[in-house]
């Protein structure tokens, strides 16, 4: 990135700097890029260049960035159809992600999967899952493998508040706890299960944290819009798992700025709610945080400009990219690369 002048860290007013400037810049960069890329996705959808559906993470960047920085290369992440942010946060390119949304050959899966199934094994993104709750047991399986082989990676599983009421959630939590698996369950509580306030359909106040004790786990609720808090919590949970301490369940309070999916104008929100949460916009919080830690305005602007430049470049590349060749229609149903079910 283009470097502006970065002022020296001064003794900080908010306590020990366990995170460090380099990481903070990374946290900021990721949130900015996710925001810009998602906004671009919003626009491209309106232009009908992104088809089908798209579940945007606008407003939920801090969770993705916090975990993205805390996770090591080799850690495995599993997310839902609202997975654009998590995919970018693990290092996948904007071209790959936007390209997949635009169903072009340049996409991460060449258009085979689409927005809801973003996968980049090279970055540890082992799929985005559209069936609510399905990937929680899958993350357990990945963790079981690590435990069995003595490998040190951790499996991280992102899901929304609505997931906490489906059967697979409960099976996975119990399973992970009993087998003491190296898996971290991250609930992004954005207050709405699709179009319904989560409180209307959940027996407890905190859909994830209040269930933790059912599985012998610690109840953890954090401010999901503060990337530092997310980072610290993520790091602790990851290390606990890595050291054989078993699973964690973390509830991150956050809010999505747009509707459930692109098709949803979110008229079900009470008036004023969105505005309140916009005051707690993760990017606003983190911009301020950087300033508190002495990062110069130039440096911040440099990150923001670079992000916009990258988005423009990616958009141009993707717009010019062809769609996948038709041979892909029947490719990769089976391991031999084909689709044959008979001789």
């Amino acid at each position: 990135m283009k470097s502006g002048k970065i002022a020296a860290v001064r003794s900080d007013p908010v306590g020990n700097d366990d995170i460090g400037l380099e990481r903070r810049l990374e946290l900021f960069r990721l949130q900015v890029e996710i925001r810009d890329c998602e906004k671009r996705a919003h626009d491209l959808f309106l232009q009908n260049l992104i088809k089908g559906t798209s579940h945007l993470s606008l407003g939920q960047e801090a969770v993705a960035a916090g975990f993205g920085v805390a996770m090591r290369k080799g850690d495995k992440s599993f997310c839902t159809y609202r997975g654009h942010a998590h995919t970018l946060a693990r290092g996948a390119s904007m071209e790959g992600m936007l390209g997949e949304l635009m169903l072009r050959d340049i996409g991460l899966m060449r258009g085979k999967g689409g927005s809801m199934h973003l996968t980049s094994v090279e970055h540890g993104v082992l799929g985005s899952y559209a069936i609510i709750g399905a990937h929680l047991p899958i993350a357990c399986g990945s963790a079981w493998r690590a435990q069995y082989l003595g490998e040190k990676d951790v499996s991280v599983c992102f899901f929304g508040d609505g997931t906490t009421n489906i059967g697979a959630f409960h099976e996975a939590l119990n399973f992970a706890a009993v087998w003491k698996l190296p898996v971290v369950f991250v609930c992004e509580n954005n207050l709405y299960m699709e179009y319904t306030p989560i409180g209307d359909v959940t027996a407890v106040k905190h859909p994830a944290a209040d269930r933790a004790s059912s599985y012998g786990l610690e109840s953890i609720v954090i401010d999901g819009n503060d990337a530092d808090e997310v980072y610290r919590t993520a790091y602790a949970a990851l290390e606990k798992a890595r050291d054989g301490g078993g699973p964690s369940l973390i509830e991150c309070l956050t809010y999505r700025h747009s509707g459930h999916s692109r098709a949803d104008p979110a008229k079900y929100r009470p008036p004023g709610e969105l505005e309140e949460w916009l005051k707690r916009d993760p990017l606003t919080i983190y911009r301020q945080r950087l300033e508190e830690f002495g990062v110069a305005e130039d440096a911040i602007i440099a990150i923001e400009s670079e992000s916009k430049r990258k988005v423009e470049a990616a958009t141009a590349t993707c717009k010019a990219a062809p769609q996948a060749p038709v041979e892909l229609l029947t490719a990769d149903v089976y391991a031999d690369g084909g689709w044959a079910w008979r001789n």
Binding site: K76, L108, M109, R110, K112, G113, G114, H117, T119, S120, V121, L126, G127, Y129, I131, A134, H135, L136, P137, I138, A139, C140, G141, S142, A143, W144, R145, A146, Y148, L149, S155, G167, A168, E171, A172, N174, F175, V178, W179, L328, A331, D332, V333, Y334, A335, G337, W339, A340, W341, R342, N343
Partner: protein, 326 residues
């Protein structure tokens, strides 16, 4: 050479693969310490230990999900779903997840796992524990489906399934667990997608699966002895991949096809074969294709009623005779 029961063959096949490859692990409900509710996995826990043979909670979705996650990241898991009827409880993993993973990820992810399950009726367990469900998964693109009828096939197809890089659903038949058969010593590896001609014949082809295969064979003996009808009996063994070459070759020779299916009538596996034969082998057919199936009903618990429902050797003989001689 040894004579093993079908259930012993299950453990034998799994053990063969676990010995060969450290990545093969096995999980399910009561599969380890208890040796399985059907005693089909006796000895594995003692032999391979609690890290490789794991007893799970009653959590079918977690069992299949975990098997999938492990398979995606480097292990070769075998997961048990105790009664085949229970695949309905975790059907998402078969229908939506493991079958589509490779395709949606454009080949980045794969799922080399085996789901083994106790399929079929004739054991008086009632409607929810007696179904033949192999046709449920036959129709999902991206999985493979087998149903062996003999101990040697159990071992060989289990090995083939474990070694296969795609998800395989391995239907064991509960009513066959006690049957015996010869299993040679040494490593046995069969090939998915291959049918077996159990009996050569020229008057008609009878295609059967699992429990229906020995019944078809019994019927063929009676047909030859009492009715001078020389039937060719094919054990289909593998629904996906389907060995259409063997079946079409047989029909080319005999001109007549019967299927014997334990699943309830509608959309049974035989319907697909009948369709293929009616299309590709049209000019070889000397008469209509006839499916002999369980009626389209849930299965009763009462033994005399259940025995009426599932095709018996006598019912097969009667139908074939009437159709060919009529």
């Amino acid at each position: 050479m040894a004579e093993l029961t079908y259930r012993e063959a299950v453990a034998h096949g799994i053990a063969q693969e676990m010995e060969r490859d450290d990545r093969v692990v096995f999980l399910g409900e009561d599969v380890g310490k208890a040796g399985g509710v059907f005693k089909a996995t006796v000895g594995l826990y003692e032999k391979f230990g609690s890290l490789r043979v794991r007893d799970t909670p009653i959590s079918e979705q977690a069992i299949l999900g975990a098997a999938m996650g492990a398979a995606m990241t480097g292990l070769r898991p075998i997961a048990e779903i105790m009664f085949a009827d229970f695949v309905a409880v975790c059907f998402d993993y078969i229908a939506n997840e493991m079958s589509k993973l490779r395709y949606m990820s454009n080949g980045q992810l794969s799922c080399p796992l085996v789901i083994r399950t106790g399929n079929g009726g004739g054991v008086r367990f009632g409607a929810q524990h007696s179904q033949s469900v192999e046709n449920w998964t036959m129709m999902i693109p991206g999985v493979k489906v087998v149903a062996p009828s003999s101990p040697i096939d159990v071992v060989g197809l289990m090995a083939a399934a474990v070694r296969d890089p795609d998800p395989v659903i391995f239907h064991e038949h509960k009513a066959l667990y006690a049957t015996k058969g010869e299993v040679p010593d040494g490593e046995i590896v069969d090939t998915l997608g291959t049918a077996k001609i159990l009996r050569s014949g020229s008057d008609c082809t009878i295609a059967a699966l699992a429990l229906m295969a020995p019944r078809a064979l019994e019927a063929a003996d009676i047909l030859a002895r009492d009715h001078s009808i020389n039937a060719e009996v094919i054990d289909v063994r593998s629904l996906v991949p389907l060995d259409t070459k063997t079946i079409l070759g047989s029909v080319a020779k005999t001109g007549r096809l019967f299927t014997v299916e334990e699943n309830p009538r509608l959309c049974g596996w035989g319907a697909e074969i009948a369709s293929i034969v009616a299309d590709e082998a049209f000019w070889d057919l000397d008469g209509p294709i006839v499916r002999i199936t369980t009626p389209h009903i849930p299965l009763p618990a009462a033994d005399h009623l259940e025995d009426l429902a599932l095709p018996s050797a006598a019912r097969i003989v009667d139908k074939v005779r009437r159709v060919l001689n009529g």
